[in-house]
């Protein structure tokens, strides 16, 4: 999400380059880094493996200067493309403002493109974003290679919803800046602080015009202004018409790391449980409390052996249930209170030590029978 800082008068947006492995996301960033003026760019940070494959993300901050009195900064991220890096790929998408999908135009990579697009959709959904509501630009990369699929074929396979799309070659450098400019404009237009969405009557950006105004080095490409979205589209894209209500996953409500379970009262001794449930179960002919025992004997044993049995025998008055109920320990009560700071504190595990309430008679007393 866009970060707006009134104190330093800065607006900061996050743009993620997504796509299958080896489709040229990092190369995109490297090209941008090599071409933009030095005062605009920050350091390109690459968290990559020894073989130069992205491990976590590449990061390139870009400061395009002051717009409407606000220093406007973009953070360009790439994700690792390999399928098995999905965990880290998902992390990079957190708080994304705009996505550039870099597709590989080679025919044998089409399955990977589609898989990656589906994966993007899934990962965004986990953050509560919808693919249709985010600004997305799709880039058909590697158009300089021989035998690649044409833009029409790529469009038919990957872009049914008519996102802005560009032919590009990250190694030769065409189409890279068009893609970037388009996504930056889309993101900036959405970077509104108020609750009102963009006006649907106002076109967000005119990438077709942008693409036409910048002469493309590849003259052989038949269709150059590649954004095919018709101006007379009956409905504006959904991100223009609807305020986006991100449904935060439940995990966002951070539960405290340690949640003490409300301590269940300890189970009563087996013989007590049996006797307590006896009245119901005696109706069943199969019930036998203990081998050879009758219900009356059980009852007598319960009275004589359990402390509460004293009350049942009628020798002393029985206290109310609130006294007999086991009180939850004060710790658990404090933790159960919502927002209590005690819940955040790390707590020791409950002690397993048995509470010795009565002392055993010494050996010599027992030996000689002295009380």
């Amino acid at each position: 999400m866009v970060s707006i800082n009134y104190a330093t008068r800065e607006v900061s947006c996050k743009i993620v380059y997504y796509g299958p492995g080896l489709s040229g996301k990092t190369t995109n960033l490297q090209y941008v880094h090599s071409k933009v003026p030095a005062e605009t760019k920050g350091k390109l940070i690459s968290l990559a493996t020894d073989a130069d494959r992205t491990l976590y993300f590449d990061f390139l901050p870009i400061n395009i200067g002051t717009i409407n009195g606000f220093a406007t900064k973009f953070q360009l991220y790439t994700v690792p493309g390999q399928v098995y890096y999905n965990a880290t790929r998902k992390l990079v998408l957190r708080g994304v403002d705009g996505i550039v999908f870099v597709a590989d135009s080679q025919p044998d990579k089409m399955d990977e493109n589609i898989e990656s697009l589906n994966n993007l959709k899934e990962n965004l959904l986990e953050y509560g974003y919808k693919l249709e509501e985010l600004p997305i630009v799709i880039q058909y990369n590697k158009q300089d290679l021989p035998g690649v699929l044409s833009q029409e074929k790529m469009h038919a396979a990957l872009n049914p919803t008519n996102w802005p799309e560009y032919n590009a070659s990250a190694t030769e450098g065409f189409g890279i800046f068009d893609t970037l400019k388009c996504i930056l404009k889309l993101v900036l237009d959405r970077a509104r602080t108020g609750s009102s969405p963009s006006q649907p009557d106002k076109p967000v950006a005119q990438p077709a015009a942008v693409a036409a105004s910048v002469p493309q080095p590849q003259a052989a490409a038949p269709v150059q202004p590649v954004w095919t979205q018709p101006q007379a589209a009956p409905t504006a894209p959904s991100w223009q018409t609807q305020p986006v209500e991100p449904a935060r996953p439940a995990a966002a409500a951070q539960a405290p790391a340690y949640q003490p379970q409300p301590q269940a009262p300890e189970e009563a001794p087996a013989y007590y449980r049996e006797a307590a449930s006896a009245p119901q179960e005696t109706s069943s002919p199969a019930y036998r409390p203990f081998p050879g025992n009758t219900v009356e004997e059980e009852e007598k044993m319960r009275i004589n052996h359990h402390p509460i049995g004293l009350y049942n025998s009628g020798r002393i008055p029985r206290p109310g249930p609130e006294v007999l109920e086991r009180q939850a320990p004060p710790q658990a009560q404090a933790a159960a209170a919502p927002g209590g700071s005690a819940a955040d504190m790390p707590r020791m595990a409950p002690s397993l030590k048995v509470d010795k309430t009565h002392k055993k008679r010494p050996f010599w007393k027992r030996l000689f029978g002295i009380q």
């Binding site: 999400m1 866009v2 707006i4 009134y6 104190a7 990079v92 889309l186 970077a191 509104r192 305020p243």
Partner: protein, 162 residues
């Protein structure tokens, strides 16, 4: 998502900065950064001139995000404190509220215990500020970026030319 945007005003930054300064004095640390979990730097205090704070913010947030995933794998929601020990300088990171990270960089002039103590106190105070920020009604958020895209157009063409 525009409702979710992180918006910070001067008076909040002043309060946050004064808390961070107090933390630095109390714990005798070198500098403190407050970072959004998305990787945006919110504010910084102390000796940060030699640091690339933008990149640092992005990497700290990334580090926290991956640690959170590790936590989930071992059955925790997240690890609320992270500590990196170096030869001279060390970093102590802790979670503030729901969406920010407080990172304190310190060296051997102080101890991890002191930093931890003060960072905990500061994080609690900051969390309170963030809660009040969240409760602020959406009506008093002015539209600053009304025609941002239009104003940015020429500038973008200037910067990004082949």
């Amino acid at each position: 998502m525009s409702d979710d945007a992180l918006i910070i005003y001067e008076e909040e930054i002043e309060r946050i900065d004064s808390l961070l300064t107090k933390l630095l004095k109390g714990a005798e640390a070198k500098c403190a950064l407050l970072v959004d979990k998305d990787g945006h730097l919110i504010t910084r205090q102390g000796f940060t001139h030699s640091l690339d704070t933008t990149a640092l913010a992005a990497l700290l947030a990334g580090s926290f995000a991956s640690t959170k995933e590790i936590a989930r794998l071992v059955g925790e929601t997240e690890f609320s404190v992270l500590f990196h020990q170096g030869k001279k300088d060390h970093i102590h990171m802790s979670i503030v509220g729901e969406r920010s990270i407080l990172a304190v960089i310190f060296d051997d002039r102080t101890t991890i215990g002191m930093v931890r103590l003060y960072a905990k106190e500061t994080a609690d105070d900051l969390a309170r500020i963030f809660t009040s920020m969240n409760n602020r009604s959406r009506h008093d958020r002015p539209e600053v970026t009304a025609d941002f895209a239009a104003s940015a157009g020429d500038k973008l063409d200037d910067i990004f030319k082949d």
